[in-house]
Amino acid sequence: MKCFEFMGKEIFAQFGIPVPQGRMVTTAEEAEGVAAEIGKPVVIKSQVLSGKRGKAGGIKFADTPAEAKAAAADLLAMTVQGHPVQRILLEEKLKIESEIYVAITIDGAAKAPVIITSAKGGMDIEEQAEEDIVKVYLDVFLGLQPFLAKDLARRIGLTGNLAKSYADILEKMYNIMVKKDAELVEINPLVISGDQVIAADAKVTIDDSALYRQKDVPFVDEDMTEVEKMAKAAGVGSFVELGGNIAIMANGAGITMGTLDMVQLFGGQPANFMDAGGGTGVEGTAKAIQILLAQNPKVIFINIFGGITRCDDVANALAYVKKNIGIPVPVVVRMVGTNQEEGVRILREVGIEAYREMKEAAQKAVELSKAGEEV
């Protein structure tokens, strides 16, 4: 779960990482007040999860409270990548001498936390040459020891008090990773301003699987579509809207991906990725089908290889939705595995014929999605 910048900075402040003086507000009037409080030129940053906020015009500057109010009003009227700006962060404008990049994340292939840092931080970090980027893997049982933080300071050319402050920030970032179950703690830029090192930005991503033990971090769902929010509320395991017209449900991430791939290779356009998971039961599956319907697709394609998932459960769910809610579009079902015969029988009763082969089913679904397009 990605945190907004202001949330990340709250966590930073909690762990003792220096952040600019500032506050998050939701109205232009509040912005004016906070600017007056700060009493210096300010930067006003729209709080959205997109990484390209700066280039999209989501950051403004103001020298006076009145200017801040106007800039805040502009930002609060903006939409960044489809999301209306609802929150803005006002902060003192820093005197930037140089910008450092620093991040801690987890490298699955290396099975280790990794620190990535560069003396050349800022907007174009991804385009930096390999030799300008320092990458160090950590031993999870040793953690980030002070000596390594100090050596990283040396490797990006810091000395004296700046090196000490940087090393200290690095240790605190590591603590955030461990204590807040963060998958990513990124500061870009980490700003050098006089003899101070300050986090001008904050990207913190909390491990979704650990949210249950990070209850004090507010939940953020801004990067989800309305249907995705519905799916989440309905407890559907994994759902992403893709914009096509074939609503797809399968059980298992791999087979779902494989189904999408096949549909696309046959010329169809998947409306979504939905891994309905294993052993969801009748009620859960019925909810999942309703999420499919909420996308107003031209056809629904259900691909089940029954393992933990029982074919009769899926069939009963379909029958239930068809009878009680209604399914206004064609449904293509491929169904094999656990309790297959029973499932096929139930479907037949409500007028749905099940396929055995994934290929044929996928071809049929694509065909139906194109019906009426151009005959």
Binding site: K135, G252, I255, M257, I308
Partner: protein
């Protein structure tokens, strides 16, 4: 023959009396798995579906020589259960559970490495060899034979293994690496074992976009004597939700469908576009040999 475990392996189940544990125990027993013990805190001394119960893994190990364990344990308790198995000296540890916090996975996986234990998973269907299933692969999918299968995802594997079985091509072992960010075992780990396993004639690799496990596998495949057929899921997936700039810096353009296909093809693997093509390619290779 098989890799990691075979019909003689003594198996423990942790979380044996839970809903999932019970359900899959009832599948594992008829498959032929020699489940010698189960762990269920507070129920030690009892018997469940004919299997003796113990309060802790250490206790189970005092009474049985255990070769492998399967964890049906809720995510929040998996770190402790897996560490217990590792410290008790069990060498094959299958973690079915999904949604384990990644910090926990790091600890499990690195501790296992230190103690020479093999972790299969987390978030996997487990694995199966002839008369020894550790996990949740549907029994009907598996049949004994000459093909080694290693996969990142589950149901897609059932699809492919089931099709192989349907046309009479059996498997030495089928292994699911699991879909998590920090998997305990990699393609390379398992390819090495299949390469060394005399009974395995052809290896099927079922991969996915993202990460660089397939690219690493390709490097190893170059050195293999046995043919490899690969299928990769995710060709149509939109570019992933990235882990900030850090993710992009780590991956630097790696992990795409095209890149993986290219690496595997260059290494001499046959890459199937559809799952059913895997079966066709394997059939040809078996006939040829």
């Amino acid at each position: 023959m098989a890799i990691l475990v075979d019909a003689s392996s003594k198996v423990l189940i942790q979380g044996i009396t839970g809903k999932q544990g019970t359900f899959h125990l009832k599948q594992m027993l008829p498959f032929g798995t020699d489940v010698v013990a189960g762990v269920a805190p507070g129920k030690g001394g009892g018997v469940h579906e004919g299997v003796p119960l113990y309060n802790t893994v250490y206790e189970a190990c005092e009474h049985h020589a255990i070769d492998a364990t399967v964890l049906f344990i809720p995510a929040a308790y998996c770190k402790d259960a897996a560490l217990e198995a590792i410290e008790a000296g069990i060498k094959v540890i299958v973690i079915i559970t999904e949604h384990i916090p990644v910090q926990d996975e790091l600890i499990i996986v690195n501790r296992a490495k230190l103690k020479d234990a093999v972790i299969i998973g987390p978030n996997t269907f487990g694995m199966a060899s002839w008369k020894c299933k550790l996990g949740i692969l549907p029994n009907i999918a598996f049949s004994p034979g000459p093909v080694g299968v290693v996969a990142r995802s589950g149901t897609l594997t059932y699809e492919i293994v089931g099709s192989l079985t349907n046309i009479g091509i059996g498997q030495t072992s089928v292994v699911g690496l699991g879909g998590d960010r920090v998997p305990g075992s990699t393609f390379v780990d398992m390819l090495k074992r299949f390469e060394a396993d005399e009974a395995t004639q052809v290896v099927v690799l079922v991969g996915e976009i993202g990460g660089n496990a397939e690219e690493e596998a390709a490097e190893y495949i170059k050195t293999m004597s046995k043919p490899v057929v690969a299928y990769l899921a995710g060709k149509s997936a939109p570019p992933g939700k990235r882990m900030g700039h850090a993710g992009a810096i780590i991956e630097r353009g790696k992990g795409t469908y095209e890149g993986k296909v290219q690496a595997l093809t260059a290494a001499g693997a046959q890459v199937a576009t559809f799952p059913y093509e895997v079966v066709e390619k394997v059939q040809q290779l078996i006939r040829r040999s």
